[in-house]
């Protein structure tokens, strides 16, 4: 579709692995923040055509 790599992430994290969850969440959010807002697929303005 044209979404940059890095915006989507899958991981196996057990409910017992709280530190891993925190780490992955931090990494993913850092990465996405670095990419900036993904406005290619959002409605930027109210336009009907």
């Amino acid at each position: 579709m044209g979404i940059e790599p890095g915006r989507l992430h899958f991981s196996w994290i057990s409910s017992a692995e709280s530190t891993k969850f925190a780490k992955v969440a931090q990494e993913v959010s850092d990465k996405v923040k670095a990419l900036g807002p993904n406005d290619h697929f959002a409605k930027k303005e109210l336009k009907v055509a």
Binding site: K43, E45, L46, V48, A49
Partner: protein, 356 residues
């Protein structure tokens, strides 16, 4: 007959001149197909485009865009006008539909019956319509699926047009039909008035008419009982193949059904209308879950009854179809309005008259 001669060499230049006053629409090639759409600056429909018989989608969106904003509003409670609808600002520049086919131009005359009633006037449609000048291109070479001559118009039909162009080889002969048309011709700088032989024009018209091989019989439609026709036994067979898409209704120049929707973004919002289709099951779905046209047969019947019976009964303006043949050509499953019209028109006829 007075005509204005437009040398084909002066075609593009004239349109460029007109473009300073008008927003131009016309047939242009998009990848494989011709579409009738807004012309980008400097893009004039070339000879090939003018000769193209039917654009894939009809020019209906010139007057009646597929989606159109009705109102804007804010939901910001700090604004004294919060939740109050405001009409959006409009671009007042008039429009001109260049190279529109007579059948498509006539479709607006029919559709006007819907958008202008004694009680209510659809300001959006009517303003767009009044603002548009229709520069028609006569059909010298109609398609095999065209049946305009039996659908109330024809390849040289003038009703709904401001100018009618006929292709005379190296030039167009332009028959100016209205004041609006005259104003456009002036804006384009076309003023070379000539005496055009009536016989030649009539000859073209006859020749074009003779090339039309499709027809729909409509003579009995008005007199057939509405309920009896509604309950005719052929509808299941007609409707079986229908997949309930909106191809027929969205390509049709005379279909007008629409939906109204609101959309917010943050505190700003718009109320817009967009085309809708009686082929879609949710078109008639009640809030309670009841759906009066739940079955496919009912919806297919509605489309044909609306065009070929209800409209006939209501407006006495003939059928709500101009015979452009788009639905015939592009229906994914080949449901053919010509066949259905025939079935409807011959409904209840005695056996002895029909030859199987």
């Amino acid at each position: 007959m007075k005509c204005i001669k437009i040398d084909k060499n002066e075609w593009a230049g004239g349109l460029e001149a007109a473009a300073s006053t008008y927003r131009l629409f016309g047939p242009v090639k998009e990848d494989e197909f011709y579409e009738f759409k807004a012309l980008e600056e400097g893009r004039a429909p070339d000879a090939a485009a003018m000769a193209v018989r039917n654009t894939r989608t009809s020019p209906r969106s010139v007057v009646y865009p597929q989606a159109e904003v009705l109102f804007e509003y804010t939901t910001d409670e700090r604004d004294p006008d919060a939740h109050v609808m405001k009409e959006p600002e409009r671009e007042e520049k008039p429009r001109a539909a260049i190279g529109i086919r007579p059948c498509d131009a006539y479709s607006f005359v029919l559709v006007r019956n819907n958008f202008e009633s004694p009680e209510y006037q659809d300001v959006y449609w009517l303003r767009n319509y009044e603002e548009t000048t229709f520069i028609g291109q006569a059909c010298h070479d109609p398609c095999s699926t065209c049946f305009c001559t039996t659908a109330g118009c024809g390849p040289f039909h003038e009703e709904g047009l401001d100018v009618l162009l006929a292709d005379a080889g190296d030039h167009y002969a332009a028959k100016v039909l209205t004041d609006k048309g005259e104003t456009f011709m002036k804006a384009a700088g076309w003023g070379d008035e000539i005496d055009f032989p009536d016989e030649e024009w009539e000859g073209w018209k006859t020749a074009a008419g003779e090339k039309i091989v499709s027809e729909v019989p409509t003579d009995r439609l008005a007199d057939i009982d509405t309920l009896a026709l509604h309950d005719a036994d052929f509808w299941d067979d007609v409707a079986f193949s229908c997949i309930n898409c909106g191809t027929c209704t969205y390509l049709c120049p005379t279909c007008w059904c629409f939906d109204i929707q609101d959309e917010n973004k943050g505190r700003e919002g718009i109320r817009y209308r967009c085309w809708d289709s009686c082929m879609f099951p949710i078109f008639t779905l009640h809030g309670s879950g009841h759906n009066p046209r739940d079955a496919k047969t009912q919806r297919v019947r509605q489309r044909f009854m609306h065009k070929l019976k209800y409209f006939v009964d209501r407006y006495e303006a003939g059928i709500q179809c101009v015979g452009c043949g788009r639905c015939v050509q592009h229906c994914p499953v080949n449901i053919d309005i010509r066949k259905v019209c025939n079935l409807m028109n011959s409904f209840g006829e005695t056996e002895s008259c029909s030859v199987a």
